[in-house]
């Protein structure tokens, strides 16, 4: 069984982890075309290269990022997501945004 190095917990059996998909950049959901959105949601390149993926260590509830080669399956490095995501993300209001009703 493959071993992956968790940035928080160290090397562990791959069975302790949950795959979280490739790290993708969400297009602007208000301005992109339907096709761009569909590509973001549904398509993966699936080419031979180093890809950046989300992995989750189930026992500690910890998400991190791994760089893995799709042909050799070698995991080149793993790191905390704060290395890629260090800015607060906000979504612009829709132009026609109406007041939310209190229920």
């Amino acid at each position: 069984m493959k071993i992956m190095n968790c940035p928080l917990n160290g090397p562990r059996n791959i069975s302790e982890f949950v795959y979280g998909g490739e790290v993708k950049t969400m297009p602007n959901h208000q301005t992109c075309s339907d096709k761009e959105w569909a590509e973001y949601v549904f398509y993966s390149d699936n080419t031979i290269r180093i890809i950046t993926e989300w992995w989750y260590h189930a026992a500690s509830g910890y998400w991190f990022i791994a760089e893995r080669h799709t042909a050799s399956d070698e995991i080149l490095k793993t790191y905390d997501p704060s290395e890629l995501f260090n800015q607060r993300v906000d979504f612009e209001s829709k132009p026609e945004l109406a007041e939310e009703q209190s229920v």
Binding site: M1, K2, I3, V18, G20, H29, Q30, C32, D34, W37, A38, V41, F42, W54, Y56, G61, W63, D73, P81, S82, F85, N86, Q87, R88, V89, F91, E92, S93, K94, E96, L97, A98, E100, Q101, S102, V103
Partner: protein, 973 residues
């Protein structure tokens, strides 16, 4: 003395001479010694015939004495296909042969051999291919003729388990290379695991003769073994098989009833080499064995294997075998050397001095069985005239044993599983293993090294490399090379009358392999699949090399070009019990579990949880559910809903975060109120739902579905790893247990136990959230309407769950409150038209199809599925989830039954399916929910459902809910 042929000590490393063991074979009692295998004990008693071959039912005896051939497969009373040369005898063990018709001695099916020429390679594929269906008729007959043992159907499971072992270095194979590697690694401070499939350490040192005097192996084995066993950094596993190599040196090692899952930072495979046979006519007659098998019989079991033995060799090892046989009183009239000359002339001189003739450039062309076919009686020797060619006439020499030494093939299985490439030099006939992954090393004869000093050196080299990778100090051993030639390049002498076996397991002859290439199968993998070569129990240990040679020759290529067939795990057959181990089946109980059992609940699995379906016997299911439902509708009932998922979102950005995750608007959700929370994924599919409680401006408590909460929590934390909002997200599913007290009398029950909350409709209205205490236990109170009556969900920290259940049951007693189960709850919510996500939804359901548009705020800037929901909602809708009704007398559809576009049209489209269905005594009809075509959704119209046996029933579309359309019962009182 057990058996007539025992040799004196110190021979017999495996046996204990003063302990005899009786067992039966084919109904006859035999006596062996403790440590004997079935095969050695039988041979000690001159019983060489042990099995019948798979296809032609030819008599067979041991070939390797090392568990590497299928000739020794026997039947135990409770286990088929046991290797007689590995299974140690025990008192009263009952052993029989298998795969015969009649008796092992007189197999009526041995005539199949004469039909061999009508059964060419690929016979079954070609003969039973047409007409269609003919195979089904023949199969039972053929299976019977070619069966391998029988399974004991009264078998009782035996406890098997697994355990991890963690070591710096795992060494597979405790021969000279493995022991040298283990010692060097351990001396440098590494923790070492040394694994060997044999009962004692030593590998080839336990049987092979390495020098003319015959003293070296014994002395070296004693020294290495002593050093290994006293070393506190080495853990030794004997009688243990490493059955595979998996990524990052994950090694399953089977010993007894336990499978060790070895985790090694470095792995050294010193698994040795398989001796190879010579292909000639009748090379399968009992008494034709590998040289190593004869030496194992003498050294390990103290058995004199024959009276008169002939050695057929392609290397110098055959001479050493002859010396060993001679020393032990076996007459050796001749060594037949396929080569033109010997490499080490001293060996030649030594055997000639003993009066053993040596015939160079010669081979056995045919073995002659005794008249009863049970044992070798003579060999026919021909001189070699070319590659695979022999002179027309030869001489016959009587003998009862023929020892073959054609060379060695590395035990490459584990290494190839790791991705190593086995390459073969067609000139030197040497193998090499290359392309090993990091942290995996090969040493000894598996690495093509055969000189004893070089073998030890090779082990130390592998240890040195491992130690450097481990960051431990290590002194490099001197470089040493081994030039010893062991492989004769073409030990294949095809006979015009055949029965020159390449693969003993599958009864494949040289011509079968050649014919496969002529039929167009040039690829060695295709030859394997067509001919079945290498597919038998020995998995190509002996057939792979001659097959590769024959295919290469027939297709005018080199063995390097053809390659050999792939070796996959397991290395030896393993039992499912080993893979299963003991059963780990995690399951979760709520704190009220014991109470449910005491109340006679029928427990059912709900994901990993166990939940009460209803309280009573399954035989009374239908009536109990109606009774329980009636209790909730008319009085009060209580259900354990502890399995509900629970999530807490806290922090300054809590509302913003919840607003991005769920479809509704949550920024303005008032404190003390609950809101329905629907979760869509990025594809716009509804994947979960729950209730969001706003406990404080910066604090939300959100329920989720039992099966979905872990995934929801994962998604939430993953999104916030990107969004970086200032929130804390916690999965509190297990921390909170909950009950729902529901029914017109629910308030009366609650007010009895909870004095610090005003339960009046004005103070605690529908969809409100309150906190309070019940006898000091802090509780969260949600006024909900899932089952359509006045109802309160009471959430409490789990360690109080049972105490609170008891308090509520006691308080409810005067109102005849009883618990109800999850199946009753499903009926009650169905009457209210509430969906259960994953029961009434599937992987395509978007909010529009589920009529959940009201719970989607499409004006807020973002939620997870917002763009996809916009896209799918703008498209033409194809189906809709609707409520339906059928009369109580009608056949009730089951969940999953399909909805058709038309009732009386055989080939009409399927437009949907039933998602929920139950009889409702409240409604007085069969009710349910179903996906229907978009044009079938009109209230009052009917649509066809195909139920069991193809019957079509017509269901009427009903406006949801079925019960209390004005929600008066849950909201107003």
């Amino acid at each position: 003395m057990s058996g007539q042929n025992r040799l004196p000590a110190p021979l017999g490393l495996y046996i204990t001479r003063d302990k005899s063991v009786n067992f039966t074979f084919e109904g006859k009692t035999y006596q062996g010694l403790e440590g004997d295998t079935i095969a050695s004990a039988l041979i000690a008693n001159n019983q060489w015939l042990m099995s019948r071959s798979f296809k032609y039912h030819r008599p067979r005896g041991p070939l390797t004495m090392a568990g590497q051939d299928a000739n020794t497969l026997v039947q135990l009373s409770n286990e088929p296909n046991v290797l007689a040369d590995r299974q140690v005898i025990s008192s009263n063990l009952s052993v029989t042969g298998q795969n015969y018709n009649g008796t092992l001695e007189k197999d009526k099916d041995d005539k199949l051999g004469y039909a061999g020429r009508f059964m060419p390679v690929g016979f079954y594929y070609r003969a039973f291919y047409k007409p269609a269906g003919v195979w089904d008729k023949w199969e039972p007959f053929i299976r019977k003729k070619a069966g391998l043992g029988f399974a004991d159907l009264t078998f009782k499971p035996v406890y098997h388990d697994k355990a991890y072992l963690f070591h710096d270095v795992a060494v597979i194979g405790a021969g000279p290379a493995g022991m040298a590697a283990a010692l060097k690694a351990a001396n440098a401070g590494a923790s070492v695991l040394l694994v060997d499939e044999n009962p004692i350490l030593g590998g080839a040192l336990t049987y092979h003769r390495f020098d003319i005097e015959g003293t070296r192996a014994t002395a070296l084995r004693a020294q290495l073994t002593a050093d290994v066993l006293k070393h506190d950094k080495i853990k030794v596993l004997t009688s243990a098989t490493c059955n595979g190599w998996f990524t990052d040196n994950y090694l399953p090692v089977i010993q007894g009833n336990r499978m060790f899952k070895v985790r090694a930072k470095q792995c050294i495979v010193a698994s040795g080499a398989f001796e190879q046979h010579v292909v000639f006519r009748n090379n399968d007659v009992p008494g034709v064995v590998m040289s190593s098998a004869a030496m194992r019989l003498m050294s390990q079991y103290a058995i004199k294997p024959a009276n008169k033995a002939v050695v057929l060799t392609g290397n110098d090892d055959g001479y050493l075998c002859a010396l060993e046989l001679y020393k032990n009183g076996v007459e050796v009239p001749v060594i037949i050397d396929m080569r033109p000359q010997v490499d080490d002339s001293a060996l030649h001189d030594a055997v000639v001095d003993l009066g053993i003739n040596v015939l160079f450039n010669s081979t056995v062309f045919e073995a002659l069985p005794s008249s009863d076919k049970k044992r070798l009686s003579a060999v026919k020797i021909h001189s070699i005239t070319g590659k695979g060619q022999v002179a027309a006439s030869g001489v016959t020499i009587p003998c009862d044993l023929l020892c073959m030494s054609a060379g060695y093939m590395p035990v490459y299985q584990l290494l190839c599983q790791a991705g190593a490439k086995l390459s073969y030099n067609d000139d030197s006939a040497r193998f090499a293993l290359t392309n090993l992954p990091n942290n995996l090393h090969v040493a000894g004869s598996a690495n093509g090294v055969h000189e004893l000093d070089a073998v030890i050196n090779d082990g130390e080299q592998a240890a040195h490399t491992s130690l450097l990778s481990l960051g431990l100090d290590s002194e490099a051993p001197a470089q040493m090379t081994c030039q010893r030639q062991t492989n004769f390049p073409w030990p294949i002498f095809k006979h015009p009358k055949g029965k020159d076996f390449v693969d003993f397991d599958e009864d494949l002859q040289a011509k079968d392999i050649i014919n496969a290439t002529r039929l167009g199968y040039r690829d060695v993998q295709l030859v394997k699949r067509f001919s079945t070569v290498g597919m038998g129990p020995s998995q190509g240990r002996h057939s792979a090399l001659p097959t590769a040679r024959l295919v290469a020759d027939a297709t005018h290529r080199t063995v390097t070009e053809t390659g050999v067939t792939t070796a996959r795990p397991p290395f030896v057959p393993e039992k499912l019990a080993h893979i299963a181990g003991r059963i780990f089946s995690p399951h979760r109980y709520t704190p009220m579990h014991q109470r449910h059992l005491e109340l006679g609940a029928h427990m059912i699995p709900a994901g990993v949880w166990r939940r009460p379906a209803y309280y009573g016997k399954p035989a009374d299911r239908n009536s109990i559910i109606q009774q329980e439902a009636n209790m909730v509708r008319t009085a009060v009932g209580m259900i354990d809903v502890s399995t509900l998922g629970g999530l807490e979102v806290r922090g300054p950005d809590a509302a913003e975060f919840v607003n991005r995750i769920y479809t509704f608007g949550f920024l303005k959700q008032p404190v003390g109120k609950t809101r329905y929370a629907v979760l869509t994924n990025e594809q716009g599919v509804v994947v979960d739902d729950g209730v969001s409680c706003r406990i404080a401006e910066d604090h939300f408590y959100i329920t989720a579905t039992t099966g979905g909460v872990d995934a929801v929590y994962r998604e939430m934390t993953k999104w916030n790893a990107q969004w970086r909002l200032s929130v804390d997200i916690a999965n509190v599913t297990a921390a909170f247990s909950a009950v729902n007290v529901a029914g017109p009398l629910a308030r009366k029950v609650l007010t009895k136990v909870c004095s610090d909350v005003d339960f009046s409709n004005e103070s605690f209205p529908y969809l409100a959230y309150r906190e309070g205490t019940i006898q000091g236990i802090p509780v969260r109170l949600l006024r909900v309407g899932f089952v359509g009556e006045l109802g309160y969900e009471i959430h409490m920290p789990t360690l109080f769950g049972e105490a609170l259940w008891d308090l509520l049951m006691e308080a409810g007693a005067e109102f005849n409150m009883k618990p109800f189960g999850v199946e009753t709850q499903r009926l009650l919510r169905l009457e209210k038209g509430h969906i259960i996500v994953s029961q009434d939804t599937d992987g395509m359901s978007h909010p529009g199809e589920l009529s959940l548009g009201w719970a989607v705020n499409r004006k807020k800037p973002f939620f997870l599925g917002s763009r996809s929901v916009d896209i799918v909602m703008a498209r033409k809708q194809t189906r809709k989830l609707v409520g339906f009704k059928l009369s109580a007398q009608s056949t009730r559809p089951k969940e999953g039954h399909i909805v058709l576009a038309a009732a009386n049209q055989a080939d009409c489209a399927i437009t949907g399916n039933v998602t929920s269905s139950e009889y409702s005594s409240t409604v007085g009809a069969n009710i349910g929910m179903a996906f229907v075509g978009i044009d079938q959704q009109e209230v009052g119209s009917t649509f066809p459902i195909r139920v069991d046996n193809g019957e079509i029933v017509m269901a009427e579309v009903v406006k949801l809910p079925f019960y209390d359309a004005g929600n008066a019962r849950q909201e107003i009182i």
